[in-house]
């Protein structure tokens, strides 16, 4: 997959960071920014929920919590104190494609804190007593999510789009699965995936290259003894050949939701993904976008409508969501399908194309300002493809013609084949 990405996309020479591969296989990305007193280290691991065998659902995210529970050398809570007592911030996140862990701090303190982060990531001890206590915390996280109607709707929609593919199940896992996990299984998951060839360490900010490389080389040495990885079941979602419809009644909601989704290409067809990103902007980004203009501003059938494209490694996701009164559900779904049919039958105008390109390219500029934003961007791309590709985004976007987008809409955004989840307030 990585080769096909390379051959498809021209790399631009002005990638502003340096990429190194250490002898042990670890990737290090560094960018020096002179004007900032801030330094960020962001460690990305190919150990998201797609690496979980079915019966281990929720393991990747639970492990992200347990990483902070210390090692034989570092007691639980010590790392948090060391970072925060120096005025820094640390946190982590897990998705289907990745888990990542970061520290943002004043430059002089990176050297004090980074070795502790490396120690936690490489040598997590996953103590049994902390394991059972932290499981209660994750169960609270699940309860909190379940009190959020939009989360419930989104999970139902994902299950419908991706079926038995891991993208179809919640990253948080379920209570039943979590109660069955053991510390031994988690250690095995850890020692399988938290290995140098699966990790990218990104350092961006007011730290020079030599210091950054020295810090990483010294800290990221002793990885856990490898364990055999559990075999993953084949995980192919059945392509959408029909309208997969489901309705949920939720007593707590005051307004209905209409959520529609299409599965897009994986990262091996990144260019198509970027085209869908443009279509998403055309349909739902801003008051002059097609759906907002028609459904909210003119016909006033919805209180909100939005469109979104999410790049994912194996299959990207295109969604259109509306918040509305239940009596308009059917008519709005029909109008959205008509809007897609129009994309199939005629190319968008030059003005619309220009507007969508400019929106996305400016958004890119607005979201690559701080060291943390840049570190996240490079780490994410290096986890699902290659870091250098990250900065080709504006150039790729500029390259599209209206006809390319018409063809992509025909290929991926069918008004007859999609998943739809409807949330209704109880009558």
């Amino acid at each position: 997959m990585r080769l096909s990405v390379l051959s498809q996309l021209p790399k631009v020479s002005e990638f502003p960071a340096d990429v190194f591969r250490l002898e042990n296989g670890l990737t290090v990305i560094h960018q020096y920014i002179s004007a900032t007193p801030v330094a960020v280290v962001d460690v990305w691991v190919r150990a998201g929920a797609i690496r979980e065998p079915n019966e281990w659902s929720g393991m990747a995210h639970f492990l992200e919590h347990m990483i902070f529970k210390g090692t034989d050398q570092v007691l639980p809570g010590v790392f948090d104190q060391i970072v925060e007592n120096r005025g820094g911030v640390t946190n982590a996140a897990t998705s289907h494609d990745y888990a990542h862990f970061f520290i943002t701090t004043a430059v002089p303190y990176l050297a004090d804190t980074l070795p502790y982060l490396a120690e936690l990531l490489l040598n997590a001890s996953i103590p049994a007593d902390e394991f059972s206590r932290e499981r209660d915390v994750v169960l609270e996280e699940i309860r909190q999510a379940q009190d959020n109607p939009d989360w419930l709707g989104f999970q139902a929609l994902m299950e419908s789009v991706y079926e038995c593919h891991p993208y179809g199940r919640p990253v948080l896992g379920t209570e039943m699965h979590l109660l069955n996990h053991s510390p031994e299984e988690m250690r095995s998951f850890h020692s399988c995936h938290y290995q140098p060839e699966n990790m990218t360490v990104v350092i961006v900010g007011g730290v020079d290259r030599e210091s950054a490389l020295d810090m990483v080389e010294q800290s990221f040495q002793q990885f856990a003894t490898r364990s055999d990885c559990r075999q993953l079941a084949t995980k192919i979602a059945t392509p959408l050949r029909e309208i997969r419809r489901q309705e949920l009644c939720l007593p707590s909601i005051k307004q209905a939701r209409l959520m529609m989704a299409w599965a897009g290409p994986g990262v091996e067809e990144l260019r198509s993904g970027y085209g869908l990103d443009l279509i998403s902007a055309l349909l739902g980004d801003g008051r002059s976008s097609r759906l907002v203009k028609q459904l909210r501003e003119e016909e006033q059938l919805v209180s909100n409508v939005s469109s979104s494209f999410s790049l994912q490694q194996e299959s990207s996701l295109f969604t259109i969501s509306a918040w509305l009164e239940p009596q308009y559900l059917q008519i709005v779904e029909g109008l959205i399908c008509s809007s897609l049919a129009e994309l199939h039958s005629s190319p968008m105008s030059e003005a619309e194309l220009k507007r969508s390109k400019r929106l996305l390219c400016n958004d890119y500029a607005f979201s690559t300002e701080s060291p943390g934003q840049l570190a996240g961007l490079y780490g994410y791309y290096n986890t699902i493809a290659e870091a250098e590709i990250a900065v080709t985004y504006p150039q790729q976007i500029q390259g599209f013609q209206a006809l390319d987008l018409q063809q992509l809409a025909q290929q991926y955004l069918s008004p007859e084949r999609y998943a739809v989840t409807i949330l209704k307030p109880n009558d």
Binding site: P37, V38, T104, T105, S252, R287, S288, K293, S303, L360
Partner: protein, 427 residues
């Protein structure tokens, strides 16, 4: 960030009273602009609660030169961002642009400030949307807990309500109400504008002068506010709802930003609830597994603010969570903080304060906000000095004076929340 900001920040007062703050940051080809007005929901009559929010929604929907869709086209064809928001203590228009588009967007912002038309149809549309948003606030347990807490604490004061207003007040708002509010508060001697990005301060100033320099300040004084005195009357509020988690929230009337107690309360709030090493996080989450989200907030306000701690927990843990939160707050006036933990709280607060000024938008926000609150841009240096000077004894004294009896707010299933507090419950 800090270094170049302090070197290059330029504050100027135009003849008509507009305060302009400009900071040049050549790092990226973008400019962030914030236009603050001394207004917000604090200036609303109780019978017109929600008027500032509605005005914000309609402000961008018509000027004497441009229709709603023409405004949207103009902003979005540039790929720029433009937003209007009403907060408790101020009204805000924000813009983000690439540098070349700044003049055109500034001209548009000038029209919005000086000649909005509030078209009748747009007022009606946005009024319906605001009513919908008010109802939707009831969808999330946290929001319910927070709303009932502030109603209990603030009675007839505008801080008692979310900026949206109530169904009763918003139903009665008219175009005339918007025009009157606009007429009262949108005047040059009531405005602070900050511009941060790739633009020389003198250029920013000259362009603002050109667009807004001929706007004359009225000779009439600004309306005087007669806000009701907030009378302390701690009492519990309870909402029964079939949720997965109970929300437990304890609030105390705090101090305004102008109070000598403000700095100590900020520190105590950081100590209790900010970050992974905070007292509540360690005691209630890490050691007892009671919650995923456990935190504290103490917003900076012109009038008496609120100091609150909260968590979400499994319904069967509601009582012990309430007891846990209460005893952690009570402890602050019983046991003096150890010198190391007190210093750690200072380091954390000041470190994160510095990290909060990384992007152009963050810098523009902070300085103009200080100016509009009447603190002046020098508050950026006063704040760290004053925090550093707070002693543990002074903090304990403040804790004893403020944390006497909490306003308790509970949301959760009846079996979990009934009988925990002595008060008739709602629903």
């Amino acid at each position: 960030m800090q270094d170049y900001v302090n070197q290059s920040i330029k504050r100027t007062v135009l003849k008509n009273g507009i305060v302009v703050i400009a900071v040049e940051n050549p790092a990226a080809d973008i400019i962030a602009t914030r236009i603050f007005l001394r207004a917000g929901s604090r200036c609303e009559l109780k019978s017109q609660a929600g008027v500032a929010h509605l005005l914000a929604a309609v402000l961008t929907k018509g000027t004497s030169k441009l229709s709603s869709s023409e405004i949207a086209d103009r902003v979005e064809s540039l790929g720029a961002g433009l937003g209007a928001d009403a907060a408790a203590d101020y009204f805000l228009v924000s813009m983000k642009t690439v540098s070349a588009d700044f003049p055109e967007m500034l001209e548009l912002a000038g029209q919005l400030l000086r000649m909005p038309t509030f078209p009748e149809a747009e007022v009606e549309l946005e009024r319906r949307m605001a009513l919908q948003a008010i109802r939707s606030q009831q969808e999330q347990p946290f929001t319910i807990a927070f709303e009932q807490l502030r109603q209990a604490m603030y009675q007839n004061h505008p801080y008692s309500m979310s900026g949206l207003g109530t169904e009763a007040t918003v139903s009665n708002l008219t175009r005339t109400d918007l025009q009157e509010y606009h007429h009262s508060y949108f005047r040059p001697d009531n405005i602070v504008i900050s511009v941060v990005g790739r633009i020389a301060p003198e250029d920013a100033l000259a362009q603002i002068e050109q667009v807004l320099g001929d706007w004359e300040a009225p000779t009439t004084p600004l309306p005087t506010l007669n806000l009701p005195t907030i009378i302390p009357f701690p009492h519990p509020t309870v909402t029964r709802q079939q949720t997965q988690q109970s929300i437990v929230m304890l609030g105390y009337l705090g101090a305004s930003v102008g109070s000598p107690d403000y700095m100590a309360l900020k520190l105590l709030n950081t100590y209790l609830g900010n970050g992974l090493s905070s007292r509540l996080f360690v005691e209630l989450r890490e050691k007892r597994g009671l919650a995923y989200e456990v935190s504290a907030f103490y917003p900076t306000r012109l009038d008496r603010s609120q100091f609150a701690v909260y968590l979400g927990t499994a319904p069967e843990n509601t009582a012990i969570a309430l007891e846990g939160l209460r005893s952690e707050v009570d402890r602050l006036c019983k046991i003096p903080l150890e010198p190391e933990e007190f210093q750690a709280a200072k380091n954390k607060l000041l470190g994160q304060y510095a990290l909060g000024k990384q992007t152009n938008a963050q810098i523009a926000q902070v300085f103009a906000w200080y100016e509009i609150l009447g603190l002046g841009i020098e508050f950026d240096t006063i704040f760290p000095e004053a925090i550093t000077a707070v002693t543990a004894e002074a903090a304990m004294d403040v804790a004893c004076r403020y944390f006497v009896e909490p306003y308790v707010s509970l949301v959760g299933p009846g079996y979990a929340v009934d009988g925990l507090v002595e008060q008739g419950s709602q629903n």
